[in-house]
């Protein structure tokens, strides 16, 4: 399949390992990524707080770029997924269109509402299919208990985004099972990572992420996996702070979703950017008999 690739800001900068893993996995599964250097940032929820209409307009421009090429759009970030979908929904409201269409028209941009915004998780589970992925597994992740961490905007708010139950989703766990890992069910899997206030009130944000990591660990997780690079910043890059905030050494390896799929399909840890993590992933890799 062929799809417009919307990597988002973080995967092009500090979260580059996510981009590396995505490209590796898509190559392996025959997903052709079409790139557009014209895409702008999704606004990450912050632009939405400062100016809602501006936020919708910027994302309508992104959607129009994919539409012009006749492609659906692939995201690898829960927040990009949420913001682009929000714009897709808002662009069906006549009052919103009345404000935005004339602005875009001046730039010879028109958005017809045809683009479907799909997160990589959805593409893997629904378009490629669990069975097709299972058939390609070369290194089953047997022995690794993994806590899926969905990230808010992949699931909520339901009205706009819901491709599956927001409170009791299953797709991530199904994917983990297909690649041989054992999914861990815990309350925190649908909770918030704290990222939106990481730079507003860090101690509160760290306490929130710390609780989710501790929850996963208490339910037996050897590692966590997330479809969102912002969650990864909270859970991995700031895990030392989260540990301090909850007063326990957490030591929880946190994978990006395509890194785990890549591992199972036979990629090396280096190809997946695993050495770039702040929390060492070796203990989790040792469980599946892999050393970087």
């Amino acid at each position: 399949m062929k799809i417009a690739y919307y990597p988002g800001c973080v995967a092009q900068e500090s979260g580059r390992e996510l981009d590396m893993a995505t490209r590796w996995v898509c190559r392996e599964l025959g997903i052709e990524l079409v790139e557009f250097p014209t895409f702008s940032c999704c606004g990450s929820g912050f632009v939405d707080e400062a100016n809602q209409i501006l936020n919708v307009a910027l994302n309508a421009r992104n959607l129009a770029i994919a539409e012009r090429a006749g492609l659906d759009l692939l995201t690898i970030c829960s927040t990009c997924q949420g913001m682009l979908t929000l714009a897709n929904v808002k662009m069906t409201e006549p009052a919103m269109r009345a404000r935005i269409d004339p602005v875009l028209a001046k730039l010879q941009i028109a958005y017809g509402g045809k683009v479907r915004v799909k997160h990589l998780l959805e593409v893997l589970v629904n378009d490629i299919g669990i069975e097709a992925i299972r058939a390609k597994v070369r290194r089953p992740l047997a022995g690794m208990n993994v806590g899926a961490f969905y990230g808010c905007h992949l699931l909520r708010p339901t009205l706009e985004l819901g491709s599956e139950s927001a409170e009791e989703p299953h797709s991530f766990e199904e994917l983990l099972t297909a690649i041989g890992a054992t999914p861990v069910m815990y309350r925190g899997r649908v909770m918030c990572c704290g990222f939106p206030i990481l730079f507003v009130k860090p101690e509160t944000a760290n306490r929130i992420s710390g609780r989710q990591i501790a929850d996963a660990r208490d339910h037996g997780a050897h590692a966590m996996a997330t479809p969102c690079p912002l969650c990864h910043i909270s859970l991995d890059s700031f895990q030392n702070k989260a540990s301090a905030a909850v007063g326990q050494k957490l030591n929880m390896p946190v994978f990006h979703l395509p890194q785990l799929v890549g591992l199972a399909l036979g990629a090396s840890p280096e190809e997946l950017g695993l050495p770039r993590h702040l929390v060492p992933v070796e203990p989790a890799l040792a469980r599946i008999g892999t050393t970087p």
């Binding site: 500090s14 909520r156 339901t158 206030i197 730079f199």
Partner: protein, 324 residues
Amino acid sequence: MPEKLVTAHVDVFRHDPAGGGAPRYQRFTLELPPHTPVLTALLRIRAEQDPSLTLRYSCRSAICGSCAMQINSKSRLACQTPIGPEIAEHGRIVIEPMRNQAGVRDLVVDQTPFWEAYDRMRPHLITDPLRPMPEGRETSMTPAQVEQFRETPRCISCAACYSACPAVEADAAFPGPMALAKLYRFVVDPRDQARQDRLLRIQTEGLWLCLRCHLCTEACPKDVRPSERIRDLKEMAIAAQGGTERGSRHAIGFKQNIRERGQLNEMKLVLQTDGILGSIGQAGQGFKIWRKKPEISKRPRRIEGIEEVEEIYKELDPKPKGDR
């Protein structure tokens, strides 16, 4: 035809702090039609198996807001939640009191902090004594003005949202989704004369601690959509007062950041929110991350077509309040 009965295994959280003894889960098993509300199941348990089971309820019709609790970890009204789907999904029904509020006994919690946060929002019309309401007649509102309230008048104060909110859980300074939805309702009320003051105060009283996780909106049995109204409050606060707080500075800084390159400049954003001195406090962590991810210190590329982005900003963000 009568509905087929299902076997309901109900694991109920039991705790009597006053009487001592550790919290525990007690299993009750009963046969009921699948459409039976959880509340009815609990009342049957109380009537037939254990009269000491303590819970709060009144209307049994999703009106009074008394019976919110956790049903298989989800915040729900017990009188509105049928047992069938819960048994189908989980094989049993785990009943626990609401979160984020101290337990009084079994399923009853102490709602004092929830109501105190509500009171702090001054949930009543505030009028200027020098500009009294017209006497002798009602103040009328246009349909468009009524529309501004959105779904907020539906709130039944059940606290399901409060129970689900991770910001409430982690920070006592956060007033919670219901209180903020209520504040919104007064901020948009055309009769209220304290709009500016309300927006100014809430900026330092927790508005910017909302994580926009939408867990409250998911939990709300009345579709009040608190998270979306909190987003509106943030936008109104910025429009009225600009970047007076770290939260508003961060949102404004982010917006400006995208205007320049079309892409996020991670380093610059931290500097904008914290100022130079504040950023030094974060520097130790920044260094740890930089060693693994050196690109955080580089400026990102400018996207192609940045002129289009600039044009959209000019049209839709012409006089940004509080921007640098």
